[in-house]
């Protein structure tokens, strides 16, 4: 097992327009970094999906499908922590107001929506939201276990 020679986290940034057709760029950006970091393919897929869900929520709830806004994706890598910070300048979306559904109850009533939030929490080790003036931040963390 090797450990990183650096104490500082390695960072990578990507800015995408708030358009659903650009989700693929966010997924590929994060998947490539996660792969290089050493995650197995299952985890790579899960991380990319969690980021897709976070960006989709921003496009939908923070920007209400306005296509001229921006989403910033910042990856910080410091073993064993792989952190993705996703920021927007739209309306604050308070995820704590989205109840974590009991999926049995949820699907028996054929509900849709709120599934993305549920998935993110299942796929990542940590999901945190913070609001600053004119900036919403979602922080997703996955630990690399070796």
């Amino acid at each position: 097992m090797t450990s990183s020679p650096k104490d500082k986290a390695t960072k990578k940034n990507l800015r995408i327009p708030s358009q659903t057709e650009k989700l693929v760029l966010a997924r590929e950006f994060v998947a490539n970094a996660a792969r290089v970091f050493g995650f197995a393919e299952d985890d790579v897929n899960n991380i990319a999906l969690a980021v897709d869900e976070a960006c989709t929520n921003i496009i939908k709830h923070a920007y209400h499908y306005a296509t001229d806004k921006e989403i910033d994706i910042i990856i910080s890598m410091k073993r064993p922590e792989f952190e993705i910070v996703i920021q927007d300048a739209g309306n604050h979306f308070d995820p704590t107001r989205v109840p974590v559904p009991d999926m049995k109850e949820y699907i028996s009533h054929y509900k849709r929506g709120g599934l993305g939030m549920y998935l993110m929490k299942k796929l990542m080790d940590k999901v945190e939201y913070t609001k600053q003036p004119r900036k919403n931040t979602v922080r997703l963390i996955k630990y690399l276990h070796q």
Binding site: T20, L23, V24, L49, T56, I107, L115, G116, Y118
Partner: protein, 121 residues
């Protein structure tokens, strides 16, 4: 890279939709249209073959949720087959196997449709 395609065909009395590519918030409206088209044509026995479906996000999963009730009210069902482990894992995380029958092979799924129930011409 972000392509998504749906093609339609029939397998006996069952309407099959073959999904190919990436199903996310950008492409989910195409799937929504496809279901609307089938419902309009009163085709309620719908098998979704996911053999070439490379990716699904909650936007795609939500489309299945949106139509299942109408399809079952029409006397049919939405069943799925040929999912890759990667795609099945996402369905499974959300507990979808409780709501939808998912088969390894298309022919097994086709046999499970009760075609007598459906009121087509």
């Amino acid at each position: 890279m972000n392509e998504f395609k749906i093609s339609f065909r029939e397998n006996g009395k069952v309407q099959v939709m073959d999904l190919r590519g990436y199903l996310d918030a950008h492409t989910a409206p195409n799937l929504e249209e496809a279901f609307q088209k089938l419902l309009k044509e009163k085709k309620f026995n719908i098998l979704v073959n996911c053999k070439d479906l490379a990716y699904i996000s909650s936007a795609g999963l939500g489309v299945f949720m949106a139509f299942i009730e109408d399809v079952r009210t029409g006397g049919g069902d939405i069943k799925m087959s040929n999912m890759s482990p990667k795609v099945y894992n996402i369905f499974d995380l959300l507990g979808f196997p409780m709501l939808y029958e998912i088969f390894a092979e298309e022919h097994d799924a086709v046999k499970k449709f009760d075609v007598r129930k459906q009121s087509t011409k």
